[in-house]
Amino acid sequence: MAVLELLYPAAGNLYGEMGNGMYLTARLPGWEIKRDEMGEEPFFVQHDPSLILLGSMTENHQEQSIRLLLPYRDRLFALIEAGTVVLATGNAWEIFTQGITFKNEGRRVEGLGLLPLETETDYFARNHGKVLGTTVGGEQTMKVIGYHARFSQVKGEEVQLTPWLLSEKGEGMNRESKVDGVRYRNFFGTHLLGPLLPTNPDFAEFLLTLTGEALPETEETARLLAVAREAHRRRLSEFEKPGMKY
């Protein structure tokens, strides 16, 4: 049976992040939804989920999530190597970097270390804004719109990785960068946050096809998709308006 695993929704629910799970629940009638409580063994340790979601969280929760996931890191990485679809949005994907330096506190926390990148967090350097870009880390490219809001910048050997997004307008993974996030096998990390999937329904469909599971096609799901696409079309035209500030 197809399973959507919501990894630590108690932490990763900032900025409307629950929207992704909510949208997929409506899009995927019949799929099982598993929620991992913090402090308990995640579902993926003993089972094979079809798709794992992890969303924006506070900086304290980033640290906690790293600590809680460390004992299961090998299993999680093995799943990723084997092609399990994982989407980590907002600052959630930063926990997969080598480490997070909290500049205001003068300390560094070791990350899960999947990605050869470093994260730097500075509470006095908050940045947020819109992003309009094209996905490059996928078999098909598509326009994606969204928002980012964070205290962090991700730096490192970008060239060795496939970024997820080429930003046409708006910031990338750090202030100088025009690319954001990463695609590694079927692991997708991006600073775009909140309801990324309902806001970009075609990216959601692409992600779902990667799971290899059968996707429900009913009158309701068709209508849901049509409304999501229409909302996306309208927002995209607003994002593309000349003179729009990013």
């Binding site: 409506a26 402090g39 929760h61 205290f151 309801p195 309902p198």
Partner: protein, 461 residues
């Protein structure tokens, strides 16, 4: 405090002159004099002599209500206070009231300054004014463009709080817990009564985690958002016993009782909304900590003005219209209003959602993340017969409502707010709930009048 210098005097005098000039022009002097003073003397707040007692009020919701109430009660007891009731709660507004209170040598006239202080701006105010008391009402999700997340805001307020300040904080809010912990004298307040029945929880629940072990906290009683009685099921952590506990609420007698050690202070219940019950408990704690007697506090609550309500209700020709001022982009404010609509036990409700940020319509593309922090699921209640969603973001809200399980045939989608005037369903409904925000309050009022007129015409036929 830095020494006062020539630049300070220049800022003080020109600031005072500008207040005088604005008064001649019959204009509000809430912002400009402070702006001028800070321009001339950027460290004005570090130099101005501080009133004997400074109380700052901060938090996401209830700052204005609570500080106005505190102001009323202090004045009712003969205290002369300086209060930014009509000014802004930022450094400019605070500078403006302090310079107004100062004489020509900068010395404060009133001994008490009561300052509603914006959470983010607290870092530019509190380190210099060193409040004797800081009240933290709550730390809730707010517009994230400005406020990021409550944990960050709590961090800012904590950083801004000098060690000599007594921190009075909401013990039912796990996000307030860290402010002044380990450094300050702290007093907490909490509601220790059964569920007040004010709030109907939806499906979205914030899920804070234990500050010690990271396990999800468990609520024995969740009042709203993440506010309530909580503990950690894994390590047993729970908040310390409250210093001020609301132990009795009598809606019929219109009284509430706050217990503090041996003391039991029973006061007049001005209003019984849950938010206000918290505001009143906090106010009692602050007044008691300031040294007011039980009798003085009681007198204050008896004489305080009615707290303005965000809900206005009208009955016209056998129909009911409710006007709900709803702060768009602020999930907790929205959820409180959504919950209000859902729990009204009347049939055939029509809900009109007009939550549009006019500024964003003109200059930006409104961020819709907050729709997914809001409990649109509450609108799937069968008592809600129909919904009108109007404005630039109506298509996004249609999607959100469909995800929430509201059948599409129950929803009318209108691209502009003005189109609501022509929606026929509006003039047939028995119970109408207009949810509008500050940007649409003019239109909302016009709509209410139009509906009332039509209903009266209909009633005459």
């Amino acid at each position: 405090m830095k020494k006062i210098n020539l630049r300070f005097f220049l800022a003080l005098w020109l600031g005072k002159l500008s207040i005088f000039a604005l008064r001649l022009l019959k204009k509000h002097a809430s912002h400009f004099p402070g702006e001028l003073a800070l321009k001339l003397c950027p460290d004005f707040l570090q130099r101005i002599p501080r009133p004997k007692t400074v109380v700052c009020v901060t938090g996401t919701n209830g700052k204005t209500t609570t500080s106005n109430l505190l102001g009323d009660i202090l004045r009712a007891n003969g205290h002369k206070i300086t209060h930014n009731a009509y000014g802004s709660n930022t450094p400019t507004g605070i500078s403006a009231v302090l310079l107004e209170n100062a004489d020509l040598l900068g010395r404060p006239r009133n001994e008490i300054a009561l300052l509603e202080t914006d959470e983010r701006a607290s870092i530019h105010v509190m380190p210099y004014l060193k409040p004797d008391i800081l009240l933290v009402n709550n730390m809730l999700r707010d517009t994230f463009k400005r406020n990021a997340h409550p944990g960050f805001i709590a961090w800012i307020v904590g950083k801004a709080t000098p060690p000599e300040t007594t921190v009075i904080y909401n013990g039912d809010d796990p996000e307030c817990r860290s402010i002044g912990e380990g450094t300050n004298h702290r007093l907490s307040f909490s509601l220790r009564i059964p569920d007040t029945g004010n709030y109907r929880p939806g499906t979205f629940e914030e899920r804070p985690t234990c500050p010690h072990c990271g396990h999800e906290l468990q609520y024995t009683l969740r009042r709203y958002s993440h506010i309530g009685l909580h503990h950690c099921p894994a390590c047993g952590w729970e908040p310390a016993a409250p210093d001020y506990a609301l132990t009795e609420l009598d809606r019929e007698a219109r009284t509430f009782t706050v217990t503090h050690g041996e003391k039991e202070i029973t006061c007049h219940l001005i209003n019984d909304s849950l938010a206000n019950i918290y505001n009143f408990t906090a106010a009692v704690a602050v007044l008691d900590a300031m040294g007011l007697s039980e009798a003085e506090i009681q007198k204050g609550f008896r004489e305080a003005r009615i707290v303005a309500s965000r809900v206005k209700e009208y009955d016209v020709a056998g129909r009911h219209i409710a006007m709900l001022l709803t702060k768009g982009q602020s999930p907790v404010a929205c959820n409180n209003m959504f919950s209000y609509v859902a729990k009204q036990e009347v049939p055939g409700k029509l809900v009109v959602l007009m939550l549009e940020d006019q500024h964003d319509v003109q200059n930006d593309v409104e961020n819709t993340c907050w729709f997914y922090d809001c409990d649109y699921e509450l609108f799937s209640d069968p008592s809600i017969e129909h919904l009108i969603i109007a404005g630039q973001r109506s298509q996004d809200q249609l999607l959100r409502l469909m995800i929430a399980g509201v059948p599409e045939e129950k929803i009318t989608v209108l691209d502009t707010i003005d189109a609501v005037f022509d929606a026929e369903v509006l003039y047939r409904a028995k119970n109408i709930y207009f949810l509008y925000d500050v940007f649409t309050d003019g239109v909302a009022e016009k709509l209410r009048r139009r509906v009332a007129e039509k209903m009266q015409e209909g009633g005459a036929n």
